[in-house]
C-alpha cells in the first residue's frame, strides 16, 4: 500500500461547460471563459475567492489561448498563488495537488478544445484554424524533427498498436465496435453531444476506414468545447451550498519507453497499466466498490487498454468480457452486469474534450439529478484518462 494522505481531502464543488459543437467559430479562451463562469456560478462562490488556476495546454507555463494567465486576466481574478496549464488526465491531478499542498485553496480548472487542422479535414480547410501547413509535411505533431519519432499523426502509431492488439490476442474488432456503439447510445441521451444519433454494430464495421485497421468510428469527434471545475478543500466544501464530490485517490503513470511511441514494449508496460496500478496501491476501494467507469476514448484502443488496466478483465480479454457485458436491449456495456461506461457519450459521441468531459460527467453523476442518463445511486467513479505514452491519470471520485 502506497501513501495517500490526500484521500477525500479535496473536493469538486463547481462544474461548468460550454456548448459542444463541430464549428462554433469561437476561440479557446471564449469557450474556456464560458465554462469557467458557469462553474463559478455553480459553486456559488465569489470569483475573488479563486486563488489558483489550471489552464489548458501541454506546456505548463504557456500564455495565450485558454492558459491560466489569460483566464485569470479575462475573469478579473485579483490574486492567484498558484497557476499552471495541463491537459488530458493530468490537469485534474495537478489542480488537486495544488489545493492539497496548500498553494491555493480554491482552484479553477479549465480545459478548452477547438478542432485543429490535424484532427479533421473540415478544420484543415477552415481559415479560422490557420495551422494546416505544419501537418502537410513529414514532420508532424509527434516527435517533431526527430526521425526516430517520425509519425505524421498520433493516429498512425495507435492504428499500428490496434493492429498489433488484434494480432497478439487473435481477436477481431468486436470489442472496439461495442465500445463505440456504447458511447453513441449515451450520446443520444446527452443534449450536448455532438453525435445524437445512435450507431449499430453494423454501422461501426461499415464506417470509413481511416488508418487501417482504425475506422472513423474508432476516433473521438473533433469539436469546439470547454469544461471547467472548481476544486477546493473538503473543509471549505462543507460550507458551500453544493454537494461535494471528493477526490479519493489518484495517480499518474510513466514508463521507461518515455515518449518514443515505437518502443511500445507490450501490453504490460504502458502508462495505463502504471497509472491504474498506482491508483489501486493508494485506495482501499476495489472494482466491486466502483459504480461508474470512464475510460478515455480518444481512440477506442485507449478505452479498451484502460478497461484491461483497471482490472475488469485480463490483458487481451476485453473482447470476451465486453460480449458478456453487452446489454443488447439498450446497446450499452454494463460491466459485471452493473457498471455503465462513458455515460456522457465519451469523446466518441459527446465530443473531443481531452477527457475533461469525463471528469465533469463523473462529478455530475455523483451529485445526482442528471435527468434521463442519471445512474441511480451512483456513489463512486473510476476514471482513466490519457494516452499509452503520456499524461495518463487514474482517479477515483466519490460522493
Amino acid at each position: 500500500m502506497a501513501r495517500n494522505p490526500l484521500r477525500d481531502r479535496v473536493a469538486i464543488v463547481g462544474i461548468g461547460s460550454s456548448p459542444y459543437g463541430r464549428d462554433l467559430q469561437r476561440s479557446e479562451l471564449s469557450l474556456g471563459l464560458e465554462a469557467a463562469v458557469n462553474a463559478i456560478a455553480d459553486a456559488g462562490i465569489d470569483r475573488q475567492e479563486i486563488d489558483g488556476i489550471c489552464g489548458s495546454g501541454m506546456t505548463s507555463l504557456a500564455m495565450g489561448n485558454a492558459g491560466f494567465l489569460s483566464l485569470q486576466g479575462a475573469l478579473g481574478i485579483e490574486r492567484c498563488t498558484w497557476g499552471k496549464n495541463g491537459w488530458l488526465g493530468s490537469a485534474l491531478v495537478y489542480t488537486v495537488e495544488a489545493v492539497f499542498s496548500g498553494l491555493c485553496d480554491m482552484a479553477l480548472l479549465v480545459q478548452a478544445n477547438v478542432r485543429s487542422p490535424g484532427m479533421s479535414r473540415a478544420a484543415a480547410r477552415d481559415p479560422f484554424r490557420a495551422r494546416a501547413a505544419q501537418f502537410a509535411g513529414i514532420g508532424g505533431d509527434v516527435g517533431l524533427g526527430d526521425f526516430a519519432k517520425r509519425w505524421i499523426h498520433s493516429g498512425e502509431p495507435y492504428a499500428a498498436i490496434m493492429r498489433r492488439y488484434c494480432h497478439d490476442f487473435g481477436v477481431n474488432k468486436d470489442a472496439f465496435a461495442m465500445l463505440a456503439v456504447n458511447t453513441r447510445s449515451y450520446g443520444a441521451l446527452n443534449p450536448e453531444a455532438v453525435f445524437q444519433s445512435p450507431l449499430s454494430l453494423e454501422d461501426y464495421h461499415a464506417s470509413r476506414m481511416v488508418w487501417d485497421p482504425m475506422q472513423v468510428a474508432d476516433m473521438d469527434v473533433p469539436c469546439d468545447c470547454a469544461e471547467a471545475l472548481v476544486i477546493t478543500t473538503a473543509e471549505r466544501a462543507r460550507d458551500l451550498n453544493v454537494k461535494p464530490v471528493f477526490v479519493h485517490a489518484m495517480a499518474l503513470g510513466g514508463t521507461r519507453i518515455g515518449e518514443y511511441y515505437e518502443n511500445f514494449a507490450g501490453w504490460r508496460d504502458n502508462s495505463f497499466q502504471v497509472s491504474m496500478s498506482g491508483l489501486w496501491d493508494r485506495s482501499e476501494l476495489r472494482l466491486p466498490d466502483i459504480d461508474l467507469f470512464y475510460p478515455y476514448d480518444g481512440y477506442t484502443m485507449d478505452a479498451i487498454a484502460i478497461t484491461e488496466a483497471a482490472g475488469y478483465c485480463g490483458i487481451g480479454e476485453a473482447t470476451d468480457y465486453f460480449r458478456t457485458s453487452w446489454d443488447s436491449s439498450r446497446n450499452i456495456l454494463m460491466l459485471d452486469g452493473r457498471v455503465p461506461v462513458l455515460t456522457d457519450g465519451g469523446g466518441l459521441a459527446h465530443g473531443r474534450a481531452g477527457g475533461a468531459n469525463l471528469y465533469a460527467e463523473a462529478a455530475r453523476q455523483l451529485r445526482g439529478n442528471l435527468g434521463n442518463r442519471q445512474v441511480p445511486g451512483a456513489q463512486s467513479a473510476l476514471i482513466g484518462i490519457g494516452s499509452f505514452f503520456h499524461d495518463p491519470a487514474a482517479v477515483i471520485l466519490r460522493a
Binding site: R150, A160, R163, R164, V210, D212, E262, N263
Partner: protein
C-alpha cells in the same frame, strides 16, 4: 494493382547528433547498423548518450540483421484530382533479428496493401533526403 507510395523526402533535413550520426553514415553505405551497449549488450534506440539498462556511455555499431514488420497502418492518400486513382501510404514499425528491442518508424513502399502482414520480411531501401538518405522498407518478395 496500385502499390503504396514513396513519400517525397527531398527537402527533409535529417536531424542528427554525435550519438546518431553513425546510423546515417552506415546508411550512406546502404547498411543498417544499430548501437549496442559495450558494457551490457543492450541495444539503444533512439541513439543517445546513456544506456537505459546500465547507464554506460560507449556503444558499438553492429549490423541490425533481417528486418520484419512489427505492425503497420494503411491510409489512403488523396490525389490532387478528384478522379485520381486510389493510392496508399503505409507507415510501418520495423524490427530487426540481430538488434532485439529496436523498432524503427518507417514507411513500407511499393507494397500491395491487400498483401501485407505482421511478421513479413522486409528489406531496407535508402531514399535520398536533403541531408542524408532515410531508411524505407519494401517486402522482400515484392517484384
Amino acid at each position: 494493382m496500385t502499390r503504396s507510395i514513396t513519400p517525397d523526402f527531398s527537402t527533409f533535413e535529417v536531424p542528427m547528433d554525435t550519438w546518431s550520426e553513425p546510423f546515417w553514415q552506415a546508411g550512406a553505405r546502404g547498411e543498417t547498423h544499430m548501437p549496442r551497449c559495450l558494457a551490457c549488450g543492450t541495444f539503444r534506440w533512439p541513439a543517445g548518450p546513456f544506456c537505459p539498462e546500465c547507464h554506460t556511455q560507449p556503444v558499438e555499431w553492429v549490423a541490425a540483421g533481417q528486418a520484419r514488420l512489427y505492425s503497420f497502418t494503411i491510409l489512403p492518400v488523396r490525389g490532387a484530382e478528384p478522379d485520381a486513382p486510389p493510392a496508399w501510404r503505409i507507415p510501418a514499425l520495423v524490427e530487426f533479428d540481430a538488434a532485439p528491442g529496436v523498432r524503427l518508424v518507417s514507411v513500407l513502399v511499393d507494397a500491395d496493401p491487400a498483401h501485407v502482414a505482421i511478421g513479413d520480411r522486409v528489406e531496407v531501401v535508402w531514399q535520398p533526403a536533403a541531408s542524408a538518405s532515410v531508411p524505407l522498407f519494401r517486402r522482400e518478395d515484392a517484384e
